[in-house]
Amino acid sequence: MKNMNKKFWMGIILALAFYGIVQVLLTTGIFNDVTRSMLLLIGVNVMLAVSLNLINGITGQFSIGHAGFMSVGAYTSAILTLDYDVPFILAIIIGGIVAAIFGVLIGMPTLRLNGDYLAIATLGFGEIIRIVLLNTEYVGGASGLSGIPAKSTWTIIFFFTLFTVVLINNFIRSTHGRACLAIRENEIAAEAMGINTTMYKVIAFTIGALFAGMAGGLSAHTFYVITPGSFNFLKSFEILVMVVLGGLGSTAGSIVGAVFVTLLYTYLREFPEWRMIIYSIVLIMMMIFRPSGLLGKTKINFGKLGKKEAKANGSIDSSTP
């Protein structure tokens, strides 16, 4: 038990050190604006990937509607700060909670479905949200909402991301997270061993939606503008790519995947038409040479090696499964 705690705090300390270094580089101007917005995007993407991993990787429920939850959080928090002058942090949290409510509402009926059917249902949900936003005058229709105050700073995004990773990781490494893993491993046996599988699927879905909603709110307050188009199927797919690249079921993997995809995204900004091709090629290579993902099932032990791995992760980290 003590050992586990030690690893946990080791991770937190490394994460805070990373935060401090970046903060210094940003204030001294060594990191330019491009690097800064890339770092913010990395934070948002890590939140998205880690929360989707909880649903897809840990609980084994194949969901591809994550951008839908993200858009709910983004629009909710943007409306709250634009029209109601709600304090920024509070708006983000409310955005997450509204997304979580959607998670419960969508989860209850759809989580009876398995595999492909669930994937199609969640895909449908994401598209429905997008179409509704597209046709709602109040939220600007196709042109979306603009003039959203750019209040997402490095500090805020960093701590939200850290908070997300720590909370989700704590969940996974408890009896409740094990219940979710058991569902992935063998649903019939999990149910026979006294796990309320429906409830835990909905819980995983809801927690995933909560953090996706917060990530959406943070990204809305980073880039001034949100349009329904930025939360389309391709965005859901991009998040899925991060999780699969990193290794389904591994929090550390999701972080690495998110960092990798964001770097790719940023450096291929000039050639948007190449981006999807490169994603696809990377995915195909990955499935051939390393089907379990970059990190697969490897566990990072900070007590033993720590620093090297944390650097590879590029971003925050904690004692990961």
Binding site: M1, F8, L167, N170, F171, S174, T175, H176, G177, R178, A179, L181, A182, E185, N186, I188, A189, A190, E191, A192, M193, G194, I195, N196, T197, I203, K297
Partner: protein, 259 residues
């Protein structure tokens, strides 16, 4: 037989159809507290279907299932597990990618007292609760001689140990009634004998009532108090091992009709 004769499981006229196929019809049986009951029958007789009804995998089409004087017919499997009936599966269903210890811990989940909230925030309750679960799970593993393999991935265990782990896991849920679906399938005679001794021992130690599906006749005849015989979805006989052995209907079901 145990001193108490209170009925633990009482099945009254349970039937189950799949479309036009009647897998079980009007099955009635009872099991007293502390008994070790055998359930035998040729392939396709409906033994596993009966197990599935008893553990809630699907509800009975008609009929009643009473566990400890409470109707459990149609309850969800996890609820029936909470009411005190745990099972193993004919085709082993372990959580193969999880460790041996984690497999057993899953069964203790229902007794966990720390909430989701305290786990996510790592409150002291979380650590206490997790420690308790780990301790109890290790205790069970020790009984099954699996303690030194606790960190091994369940899928890597030998076949015999996977079967034993499945029983350990079922036991961890704290059942009153343990349903074993062919626990000795695929084991050699030595392993089977060890397993039977173990089952007899845990029955005493944990004050269990056991319902056992088994194909190995000598084994069933040797350990069971009473035996029920199913054939094509119908209960054709019940009685002590000696009675069953001499029952013409049973002989006919197994060996075919005399010419």
């Amino acid at each position: 037989m145990a001193a108490s004769t209170a009925v633990l499981l009482d099945v009254k006229g349970a039937s189950r159809s799949f479309g036009g196929l009647k897998a079980l019809s009007e099955v009635s049986l009872h099991i007293n507290k502390g008994e070790l009951i055998g359930l035998i029958g040729p392939n396709g007789a409906g033994k596993t279907t009966l197990f599935n009804l008893l553990t809630g995998v699907y509800p009975p089409s008609t009929g009643k299932i009473m566990l400890n004087n409470e109707s459990v017919g149609g309850m969800k499997p996890f609820k029936i597990n909470h009411k005190g009936a745990a099972r193993t599966f004919q085709n082993i269903r372990l959580f193969t990618a999880m460790t041996v210890l984690e497999n057993v811990k899953i069964a203790f989940h229902q007794h966990a007292r720390h909430s989701l909230f305290s786990s996510m925030l790592r409150l002291p309750k979380h650590f206490k609760g997790e420690q308790e679960i780990t301790q109890k799970a290790m205790d069970i593993l020790k009984i099954f001689n699996l303690a030194d393999q606790s960190e091994e991935t369940a899928g890597n265990l030998s076949y015999g140990n996977q079967r034993r782990l499945e029983i350990a896991r079922a036991l961890a849920a704290g059942p009153k009634l343990l349903l074993l679906d062919e626990p000795a399938a695929g084991m050699n005679p030595n392993e089977t004998r060890d397993l039977m001794n173990l089952i007899a021992w845990i029955r005493e130690e944990f004050d269990l009532t056991i319902l056992l599906i088994e194909h190995d006749m000598s084994l069933v005849m040797g350990v069971c108090n009473r035996i029920y015989v199913l054939d094509r979805g119908i209960l054709i006989a019940d009685g002590t091992p000696v009675e069953i052995r001499n029952n013409p209907k049973v002989i006919e079901a197994y060996l075919g009709q005399e010419a």
